[in-house]
């Protein structure tokens, strides 16, 4: 063996030193790292594949063993729904079926319940919700039928035209909400005769027939929902009249979703005459519209029998209360579900109002042709009324208050009237069920009621109104000092 040439000490320090063992160790480490890399990559691919398969299989994954969990199984028939359900240990649970009046905040009467033990279960619900099946609802637990509830044909004799799901109501006193599996609210079908189709608008706040199926702790009861709606832009009764505020709009619009229409049943344009002669009306140079200002209310709302709402004029171009604006008070009473009360509020800002007028508009959209008050009945067409104003004397005997009712002569919904009569097709007729409007005022000198008759289509001079004259508008002129309530009504005609 020949010797390698000797190197300097410096060269010796710089030359890499690697024994065979070191090389083998390095190779082994690199191989190990490569194997780990492959294993990590394979795991990622397997996890992706597993997640995709789990999503398809609808397998229930319990993330919190102390809480209820459910996963719906693949649907195989339209009247069956099945769920895999997990019930935690430690508390007693029941499955509840409620059938009857349901709403956004409303839990229907509990028809049946059964206990469900801790662990994994399968719940199947069969809803044969047609008149031919007598509205039968069955609930199975792990294959065994535990509830069979038959509501009968008379529960909904005409059936339903559409059904929508509804979420569980918010319950502030319950930190953990019940587990709702299924819920439905039915919009009833209306029969107006062969080849006549009525397309009603739905609203989840309206009470309708329906059901809820849910799991909750044993022996639970649920508070009755408030009949009132309270929000920043809306007030009134869920099933009655509602006021809906539109930003920068002067007119007040009242809706009645229970009559399945999307357009207002009453539209009011107010006008105020101040003591200095100034007139505040539409369009106003001082106010853009109205805002709801509940700070005017002195005490907390009852929300059981009555509710109030305060309207204040808004600044031009802003949703902010203007100073010195008229303040209107509105009132809803559960004993008067078809009505809303209106008056000037007892506030200093209203003291400068000498008189004010409510212009109830919408005659051409609602085809108002019949007026009934005291012992009088007027038909704008039958009585051949000419265009112009007509003062109405509503007083009758010794009654303290007087009623005026008005409505179209048609008994069918105007949606169907419009479909069947081309002359009405461009008038934008009201799209809900047949409605009649009314007015209740005290019988005294503080109120004067006038009806405006029109024989032409508004805005189209010389074009006769189809079908004859209508009552286009009703004005109620009110003394500015009175704080009596004026009640406006809108209710279904023909007992619906």
């Amino acid at each position: 063996m020949s010797k390698t040439p000797e190197s300097t000490p410096e060269q010796s320090r710089l030359r890499p030193r690697a024994s065979l063992l070191s090389l083998l160790t390095l190779t082994a480490l690199m191989a190990l790292a490569f194997a780990i890399g492959l294993a990590v990559r394979k795991q990622h691919a397997l996890k992706t594949q597993r997640e995709g398969l789990l999503a398809v299989s609808r397998q229930l994954i319990v993330e919190d063993e102390d809480r209820l969990a459910a996963s719906s199984l693949v649907a195989t028939a339209s009247d069956f729904s099945s769920w895999q359900v997990y019930v935690p240990e430690g508390r007693e649970y029941e499955v509840y079926l409620g059938v009857g009046d349901v709403g956004f905040e409303k839990v229907p009467p509990i028809q049946d319940t059964f206990s469900i033990s801790a662990g994994m279960h399968r719940i199947t619900f069969r809803s044969r919700d047609r008149t031919k099946y007598d509205f039968q609802y069955d609930v199975y637990l792990d294959g065994e039928k535990r509830i069979e509830r038959v509501m009968g044909k008379e529960w909904m004799p005409n059936g339903w035209s559409s059904a929508s799901g509804i979420g569980w109501p918010e319950m502030e006193d319950r930190p953990e909400a019940p587990m709702q599996l299924a819920a439905r609210s039915y919009q009833p079908k209306h029969d107006f005769g062969r080849d006549r189709y009525f397309h009603g608008q739905g609203d989840s706040s309206v009470t309708r027939l329906g059901y809820r199926l849910w799991i909750d702790e044993k022996n639970q009861s649920y508070p009755e929902a408030s009949p009132f709606l309270v929000s920043l832009f809306e007030g009134g009764l869920s099933d009655g009249l509602r006021y809906k505020l539109a930003n920068q709009q002067w007119e007040w619009q009242f809706f009645r979703p229970s009559l399945e229409g999307s357009s207002p049943v009453i539209q009011v344009s107010p006008e105020f005459v101040l003591a200095d002669g100034k007139v505040i009306s539409n369009p106003s140079q001082d106010y853009g519209g109205w805002v709801i200002d509940q700070s005017r209310r002195e005490d907390a709302p009852d929300l059981t029998n009555e509710n109030f709402l305060y309207l204040v004029g808004s600044k031009l171009g802003a949703y902010v209360a203007a100073e010195n604006s008229p303040v209107i008070e509105m009132k809803w009473d559960v004993d008067k579900p078809d009505a809303v009360g209106i008056r000037l509020a007892e506030v200093p800002e209203n003291e400068r109002i000498e008189r004010w007028t409510l212009r109830i508009q919408g005659g051409s959209e609602h085809l108002w042709r019949k007026l009934v008050f005291a012992d009088t009945a007027i038909d704008t067409v039958g009585d051949k009324l000419a265009a112009g104003d007509m003062q109405l004397d509503l007083s009758s005997g010794s009654n303290e208050s007087a009623m005026l009712w008005w409505h179209a002569t048609e008994t069918l919904p105007l949606q169907i009237v419009s479909d069947e009569n081309e002359a009405y097709s461009n008038l934008g007729l009201y799209d809900g069920l047949a409605v009649m409007q009314g007015l209740e005022v005290p019988v005294d000198n503080n109120f004067r009621v006038t009806a405006t008759i029109a024989t032409e289509i508004p805005g189209e001079v010389g074009v006769a109104f189809p079908g004859g004259a209508i009552m286009e508008e009703i004005q109620i002129e009110i003394d500015g000092t009175t704080r009596d309530w004026i009640w406006l009504y809108a209710k279904a005609r023909s007992g619906e």
Binding site: L46, R50, V56, S57, S78, F80
Partner: protein, 243 residues
């Protein structure tokens, strides 16, 4: 010292590899179990449609006893696969997609991600009326297949599946009409003539996927007309094997 460090690293790595291997085998076992339930499918070309039949659909017994028939398929749909899911019935041909009678369809838009979905088709008879339930991607539709009834058809019912369990999963070009399931009564044969062309039709129905570019072609074929520039590859069939 350096040898000790190398030894520590090696041992740690070996332990990590062992743990990963154990985890991988557990996940693999879970995947194998799920695929045994949902059908085995290997996506070799992510730009194609894959269909595999699920042999034992997970249908609760209390539901199954109310169904006459039930079929289920797992479908892999590639990104961008926009299609119409159609359920057609009445009088149909045993090949192609001719149908005279009831017809309902739903559009599905895939988006940028590939998806796996279960297609479930059930036949339910209630008060003498046949209901065809078609469930896919969280939505359920019910149709009647043009009055097709099972009363006399049970013994002569022909069921054709584009992908069946015996033959395993199949893949298809995204530009092909896929008649996934065809059901008809073999005893109801009737001569049908359209535009001078004669063929045999039967009472029955089918469920098909129609990719958006072939919608007009499908409409022609459903009405018994063959478009002039029709290509055979635009219509998948049971006999045709994967390309």
């Amino acid at each position: 010292m350096s040898r000790m460090l190398a030894a520590c690293v090696f041992i740690s790595g070996a332990v990590a590899l062992l743990v990963l291997s154990i985890m991988n085998s557990q996940i693999q076992a879970e995947v194998d179990r799920l695929e045994a339930e949902l059908g085995h499918m290997t996506i070799e070309d992510p730009e194609r449609v894959y269909i595999v039949e699920v042999v034992n659909p997970d249908v609760p017994p209390e539901v199954r006893r109310n169904l006459k028939y039930n079929w289920q398929f797992r479908c892999y749909l590639p990104p961008g696969y926009d299609y119409r899911r159609a359920s057609c019935g009445g009088r149909i041909s045993k090949d192609g997609v001719y149908a005279r009678g009831g017809h309902s369809s739903t559009w599905n838009y895939a988006g940028g991600q590939a998806t796996h979905q279960l297609l479930t088709v059930s036949l339910q008879e209630e008060n003498g009326q046949l209901q065809v339930h078609c469930s896919f991607d969280g939505s359920m539709g019910t149709s009647s297949w043009g009055g097709f009834r099972l009363d006399n058809a049970d013994s002569d019912l022909v069921v054709e599946k584009l992908a069946n369990h015996a033959d395993g999963p199949r893949s298809f070009d995204v530009n092909a009409i896929l008649p996934l399931l065809r059901v008809y009564d073999a005893n109801s044969a009737e001569a049908t003539v359209i535009d001078g062309a004669s063929f045999t039709s039967y009472t029955g129905g089918y469920v098909a996927f129609i990719p958006k570019p072939l919608e007009l072609v499908f409409n022609d074929l459903r009405n018994g007309r063959t478009p002039t520039e029709f290509k055979a590859g635009w219509l998948a069939s049971v006999e045709q094997r994967d390309e």
